[in-house]
Amino acid sequence: MSALTTAAALAAGFWLAVQGRLPSPLLPPASELPGGWTVASPPEIYEKEGLYGYINGGSEVFLQYDFRRVDVGRYRKDEAGRTKDITLDVFRMGSDREAFGIFSVQREGGERSLDLGGAPNWTTPSQASLAAGPVFVNIIGVETSAEDMVEFLRLMGKRLADAGNPPFRPEGRAGPWTGLPRRDLQEDTLRYLQGPLAAQGESEILAAPFWGFGSGTVGASARYSPDSRKLVLLEFPAAPGGLLELVRGVFAQHLAEVKAEGSVLEGKSRAGQVFLFGERGRRAALVFGKKDGGGARALLAEALK
């Protein structure tokens, strides 16, 4: 490249930079922003463990979902004497399954969602999120309205679709979710669990190292109507031996009235919540039910069919 070409490229790059249009492929440039919004600062980019430099201790769970890189865009709008800020985090994960996974453990279920061509998403007046392809997007707003977040969520949904990132659809894909009974399943609570922190986030019961979440075990969870009881289905790399006794030990440590009925363990928390565990081959299931132990037992049995 000649010196002249180099200088021209640098000049163009500088112009792009000061326009807030640095070549961060998925962040929206100023020209595509909703009305009144401007680029507040150039993009920030963090890769692999560099994420610690951005979200510090929050990085761990992302790294366990094979985080690769995040592009951070900051946007601003002055309206009626108030300054609104939006921070847009575009995370590239190792696969669409992992992008869906990190999306899924960041939501609670029951939030408002939009039709974004099948891409799972949710939005509130101060936060919105979606996953498509290997990309997970988190949008955080300060002083923003529900409409602001919807506009940015739609914008990002379109950008991801245009960039060729199809929605992740668990149906028809191999994974631990295939064993979740469909009847009464609350779709927006479906989670894909990968890594010890996501597992621990489901229950302290799953924090024990023997589950192997750091060494190949994965899981899926969902809540079920009518009382939002939760089922966690685990998939091991190989059928584990002696699991029942290990789980009995954990149950005994944290729960009361621990007993085994056949191959099913049962215990109760201090608050009266029912915990059930069962296993079959490379799979195991946990149910955290309300005080209706019968419903929880039926769900466990269905999961282990």
């Binding site: 930079a17 150039p42 993009p43 608050a271």
Partner: protein, 409 residues
Amino acid sequence: MDHDEILELTGDKNAAVPEAVSRRGFFKLGAAGAAGFALSRTLQSQDKPAESKPPAPQPADIKTNVDEIRAIPRTKDSMPGKFPGRVVKLDTGPVMADGKVDAARVEKAVARGMAELTGESDPAKAWSLFVTPQDVVGIKINPIGGKTISTKPEVVDAVIAGLRAAGVPKANIVIWDRRLHQMLDAGFTAERFPGIALAGTEMRGPNNDFYDEAGELWAKDNIDRGAKFYFADLEMAYNKNLLAAMINQGKESYFTKLVTQKVTKVINVPVLKNSGGTVTLCLKNLAYGALSNTSRLHKIWAKSVAEPNGFPYLRDKVVLNIVDALQAQYDKGPGANPQFVYDAGLMMFGTDPVAVDAVAHEYLVKVRVEKGVQQFDVARNREYLDLAAGLSLGVASGDKINLAEVALG
């Protein structure tokens, strides 16, 4: 300490100046952006089979140099301070309206909390128990959550008012954290706090980059390589971006010169957030806020939250903890996640950071159980409290904690 000294320490001559794009900054971002183009082509939808991996070493097996500090003589100000085990948990009532903070109510809350802690109703007398006009006082905030969930400037206003009442000159007060740019993002600017110094260990220089024109970190002289350091037998390779936030790599974490050389007292003002099934509060705000090279330390979370507080730069200088829980985050912390932020309407006061953290832990776990994101507490999540208590930094068990629960009314 005058303002120039702070500037000399941080090199931050543009703290309140809007960020501009430097040529160096463009080169770095441009290169990364180009890499992103390439990455986007290669990242396609794919299923990866679950891999079987060997388990990682357990934290208990990783050695640190904590034993070296046990023999260092304590001072009259050493943790747990003037009121061991004493915690005031103050129900502030509503202080948030339409996203704004009622500053007058916060000032009343801080005055009430200090009175309950010390038994002195006169704010000047209460604050004088901890600081003198000759002290250089660092106010350690937590700005990581941006404007969503960080220490609120109004709480720091009230702390400054207390310090001023005790005769501490404005020029002797510095608001500090590990990351200056996060302080600015959270609203801690020179305009907002005129006459008060702002300092961060990690910082961009006048060129708006973490690196100077010679490729050296602007922050490299902000850590004290000549002072005692925290050793942990693990390390992580950092790329250039992460090194800017860590300052050094290897097995040593150095303390910021702010705590080793500049300040004589520290008022710790963390914000209440969860970290998994526990809190990230007084001890974490100090340990991770005062040290370099912390990314690797997350692998030994409990040790690395507790043990650095045993070094004299923290143990002997942190005289007061005032918890901002006007708003708190109960899940998906410590990063900011607005959907889990709620108006808690609480503040906590204590000289004993272990006791304050223990009370906050119990409180937040209860909230998490009520919200359905956790089923019960487990001992493992309290391990850092027990480790800190083992270093005589405070008390962790409920029967030794003298908790006063009061309401502002």
